[in-house]
Amino acid sequence: MPLEPHTVPRFSGGRFPLSAGRAILAVALVVVAGGADDTPVRGADTPIDFNRDIRPILSENCFYCHGQDGNKRQADLRLDDRDAALAARAIVPGDPGASSLLERVHSTDADVVMPPPSSNRKLSEEQKTLLEKWIASGAEYRKHWAFEAPVRPESPAVNHGGWVRNGIDVFVLAGLEGAGMRPSPEADRTTLIRRLSADLVGLPPTPEEVDAFVADPAADAYEKLVDRLLASPHYGERMALPWLDAARYADSNGFQQDGDTWQWMWRDWVVKALNDDMPFDRFSIEQLAGDLLPDATVEQKIASGFNRNHLLNGEGGAIAEEQRFNNLFDRVDTTSTTWLGLTLACCQCHDHKYDPLTQVDYYRFLDAFNRLSENGTPQYFSSRIRVAPPLIELPTEENNARIADFEKQIAAADTEAAPIIEAGFAGWRKGLLASGVPGDAAGLPGGLLDQLKKPEGERTAEERQAIDADLRKHFDEKVRNDLVGKAAPVERAATLRRQLGEYRADQIPRVMVMSDDRPRETKLLDRGDYLTPTGDPLTFAPPGVLPPLPEGEATNRLGLARWLFRPDHPLTARVQVNRMWQHFFGAGLVKTVEDLGVQGEYPLHLPLLDWLALEFRDRGWSQKQIHRLIVTSATYRQSSRVGPDALAQDPENRRFGRASRFRMPSAVLRDVALASSGLLDRRQGGRPVYPYQPDQIWEALAITKERDFTYPQSQGSDLYRRSLYTFWRRTVSPANMFDAANRQTCRVRASTTCTPLHALTTLNDPTWVEGARVLAAASMKAAPDVDGRLSHAFRHVVCRVPTDFDLVALRRMHGRQRELYAADPAAAKAFLAVGASPQDAALDPVDHAALSAVCLAILNLDEALCRE
């Protein structure tokens, strides 16, 4: 059993996370190792499963030196290959006593024992016993589970089948029953609608929606609600958040000048595709290779921007080729993590230490991305915009209107300037030719000078025409500018032209996309160094351990993308459903969602993972259908309450005997604060916006004068757009998006930590303070009495009707705050002045401030911050 004390996500909050993590694992270890009678994962007589029981031990402790990486292999012994291990007599099937592996493992001699003390690794007695039993029973090896195509598992038998709502529940219930546990009761309807809303649309339900659902007598009330939320246009916005983290999406390049980009057009594509439930195969193929599809549409090309969302280094002195390889490495890493759940990045420098992936596999994979006309650094368009070809220009209607307007003005100025220019030309021509044939001093090109040497009378009509045209050309290019500054209309035309150029550079969207417009030779790089290509050229092919490209399939990105969706692909579907599970349960069925390789967590619920994966494939890769399947399960509908016994027995909820309870992502928390108060502007898509941010977050970057880093705070309702649309500067994340992926490299694992800085954000950021004020105003208008107002505010945030205890607590809170503000009305006014939205002068400031403080407190309740 892989025990990783340092990667316990849900218990990683707080001040003593690691010792606590250890404590929890101490419990988990006892449970998993079968020490606690009530929950054996593997009872004494359960047959040994190589993938579950043995490979993790070998992989963690042996493969580093005795694995497939030939460069690091010690004593010419490999234990990842059964034949090799047998040939070396490290393992003698059926004869533990003759197996040198066991002799070394059991040795007490520091020079003999394996793993050696210097490796900082040590086997437990339990692990040694497992190895012994495994060898005694024949030492069978099996391919790592994730490299074999999933097969539809049989439905396990369960005792309490009445609880089961769909296929998911059979597997979960069987696991719980096997461990002597029982599912939790179903959560109440208010909790369910709030949970579903958080998970599917990232916005809270209104009290009216809650009431309607609670009162809905229909047998399928829950399913109707699910379908309504799945059809909401906000579904795509919510589901885009984790996808943007994986795609390391940001609105700027990172690094020194940190130029802004137009990749938000790709972001809008993602939201729309998710809302349309574009099948995941198409969703993937268009993002990986939309540009290579026959007659690719503009949308498909934009989709391919997925692999252009990486960092771009334009620092002075940067070595472009080095940066270009950094882009390539990033694409391999991001693509393999996102779709394959493999750490292919490990093979940049050497064969993988653990997975059967080689350095050749890596560079064959990289070859698919090594065909762009990029040079490695972004190109300067304006002091704000830096993007790198290949790109597509997509003028908006506004752009076209502005350009047409410019052109009209330029035409008008030209018309006015024309006589002046003509006069200027005539004068210049006359002056030039007045003293006969001009000499070199006139600055004319040599060819023209030669032509002029021919006496005028001898020139043919064509020659005369050519001379006139050349003179005019020379005048327009070199001489005419002298008129700028001397004649107003000429000046105006020149200024307008310059402004049009600047406008085009700064304002026409240029989306970076993929294109195989410059194939190059790909070679393996020795130690991953771009300066040392070695060996024969390599062409794209999938890693050898995975199924090959189908016969006749293109050996390019399009082939790669289609290959992911061969029906027998062992990884694609599993990786996605595992991340979907993470979305709805806080952790994946394989907790290491970024790594399904041999070092990843062995899934306790492998049959469930496989069943879901095959459902995904067989339902035409519909993401909405799998989301629906998960949220309509009895497993999902459980309460998230946990008693001390269940907490001790399954502290991390790996058996799903309760629903998960976790703090919502900061982006969602902000949306919830805006929506609860009614401030939220629900417009979708378009350019990023600049909501409140403390001074000196961006400005502190402006140590160089190379560009203006003044934060251009938005006005009006742009302040209240969903967090998805907040401008994401890659060098410094939005100040109030705590705990977010850094959008520098691909991230697929959710993080929910808890720090004082998070508390300060939700207590003091104007977003929350203003939201509280606006919610208080609405509550004052909604009810005449304090209790009614408190209930109104409470329901808009946490949805449920406050209990008697809640009301007493809220009343006390309100009373104390009111007393303080009554004694200091100026403070009340100052508090109410936070935020750009208008204040309601009709409300008593002391009452309003007191209730606003209570609303701020409600927004900060643990219950408000968490989805339960």
Binding site: G14, A20, N326, A345, L701, T731, P756, V769, D862
Partner: protein, 498 residues
């Protein structure tokens, strides 16, 4: 504070009702089981029941198996000099270069050194000797530029490393390599690793603080990105907290306008009561983590502003840091805040000063940079020493690379130097460092290392070693492998150790 609005079952602010407290104890005890006596709930519990203190070890625990060996230093202040200070002009005297002024640095010296594209295409490599003379300082007689009189004054405290080297040719990759062990952003920074491993001696201040400053003219500054103090794949609570130079040092630190400390206190008490009730209902241990984090946030609201209030500092101390100490955001002021943080229990302070990137203004700008930074740097060392803190505080001074021994720009009249990572200099002082010592050497042109090279990963390994950490054993599993600060490299440099 008398409470005119008592809750039934909640007698007052000072302690929560016994029912809730009992539940908290129940939940927390469960999580304490098996640990060394502290768990997630430990402090929450302590803070709710009247804080327990006195136990040995950090206030906020690190990893149970750390330190690996008895540490020489318990805390670190990194005086980062961004842009690449010129080793040729400041730390590594090369009299031979005087005889070669303007002449090409021999090809036998240059070899195939990888340079930035600003100079890699040069046809001429005019030797540019140090722009000012060197002097011997202290009993140890270490030679440093006369532009460093105050650092010279602490020569017997410092170890000058003249054999630093890096592969990076540009700023961001160079800084990222030093801070995180890799040139491409995304891995945890040194301060994050240390606070993850060692915990922290304060729960009122961040464990890892970053402060930035730049040269006054902003002539050649560099940007400081948040991945220089990021937590990478470590949990985000380990990321550095950047203090800003204007407004609140920490974003969102101050209460909103119109919210007094008393009003906030009352509000938080009521929130805690409701959260405790919810904990009793839901049993989720994370709720009591939340309660404790809100308490710490409240404490930070006073402890952080206290840091920047120098009114209790004697004039003698202020004078030592120089007149800039009164200028918010200056390197001098940041040095003094650093000392105040270190003595209050912060584990890692990372000052980042920009302004050493002298491509075309070496002759004017270098001396100004020295004036802005070398006095306060030395003052910090002396101040720590006076307070008995230097013995177990590691002070590290340096940047991402050095600068080319040849002049940049017009070869007949160079105005600056380009980036140079093949050899450059750092200095260290404090806990476990061999003072009055020079480690490593370079050839006559300060180009190639001739003895005891110290790669960036070696410096990281050495710094960790001084803090009681075996760099090869401070690990975090991510993407199926064990990551560490030094990647797969790094050796402890024994010659630097006292």
């Amino acid at each position: 504070m008398s409470d005119p609005h008592p809750l039934p079952g909640l007698p007052g602010d000072a302690d929560l009702s016994s029912a809730f407290a009992e539940n908290v104890v129940r939940v927390s005890r469960r999580r304490l089981f098996g640990s060394a006596g502290m768990g997630i709930g430990g402090v929450a519990l302590a803070s709710m029941l009247g804080r327990e203190t006195g136990a040995a070890g950090p206030v906020i625990a690190g990893l149970p198996d750390l330190p690996h060996h008895p540490p020489k230093a318990k805390r670190v202040v990194m005086l980062w000099q961004g842009g690449g200070p010129s080793h040729v002009d400041l730390f590594d005297p090369k009299p031979v270069m005087r005889d070669h002024v303007g002449k090409d640095i021999p090809e036998s010296v240059r070899g195939t050194t990888r340079l930035s594209t600003m100079s890699s295409g040069y046809a001429k490599w005019p030797t540019q000797p140090a722009i000012k003379p060197f002097k011997r300082y202290g009993n140890s007689g270490i030679e440093l530029s006369e532009m460093l009189p105050n650092v010279g004054g602490i020569a017997d405290e410092i170890c000058v490393v003249r054999s630093m080297n890096t592969e990076a040719v540009n700023h961001a990759p160079g800084v990222t390599l030093f801070m995180t062990g890799a040139q491409v952003p995304g891995r945890p920074s040194m301060g994050a690793w240390l606070t993850y491993g060692l915990g922290c001696d304060t729960d009122e201040l961040p464990a890892f603080v970053v402060m930035t400053s730049s040269d006054k003219g902003k002539t050649c500054g560099q940007l400081f990105f948040d991945y220089y103090w990021g937590s990478g794949f470590l949990p985000s609570r380990f990321q550095g907290v950047r203090f800003r130079n204007t407004g609140d040092p920490v974003p969102y630190l101050a209460n909103p306008p119109g919210v007094s400390r008393a009003a906030r206190r009352a509000l938080l008490d009521d929130v805690a009561a409701m959260n405790a009730a919810h904990l009793a209902d839901y049993g989720d241990p994370e709720i009591d983590t939340r309660i404790s984090q809100y308490e710490m946030a409240f404490r930070m609201q006073t402890s952080v502003p206290d840091l920047t209030d120098f009114s209790s500092e004697p004039k003698r101390v202020l004078d030592r840091y120089g007149p800039d100490v009164h200028v918010k955001g200056s390197f001098a002021a940041n040095c003094l805040i650093a000392r105040r943080l270190l003595e209050r229990g912060t584990r890692f302070v990372q000052l980042m000063h920009a302004g050493w990137d002298q491509h075309n203004n070496l002759f004017t700008q270098l001396e100004e940079q020295c004036r802005d930074t070398e006095g306060p740097s030395a003052a910090l060392v002396l101040d720590l020493k006076e307070r008995g803190l230097l013995d177990d505080t590691l002070v590290a001074w340096g940047g991402e690379f050095g600068r080319t021994p040849f002049g940049q720009g017009d070869p007949t009249n160079p105005k600056g130097r380009d980036h140079f990572g093949r050899a450059y200099s750092w200095w260290l002082a404090g806990g476990g460092v061999r003072g009055g010592h020079v480690h490593g050497s370079t050839d006559d042109f300060a180009w190639n290392i001739t003895a005891d090279p110290v790669h960036v990963h070696d410096m990281q390994a050495t710094m960790l070693h001084l803090l009681g950490i075996d760099h090869a054993r401070l690990l975090f599993r991510y993407q199926g492998r064990q990551f560490r600060l030094t990647d797969v490299h790094g050796h402890v440099v024994k010659g630097i150790l006292a």
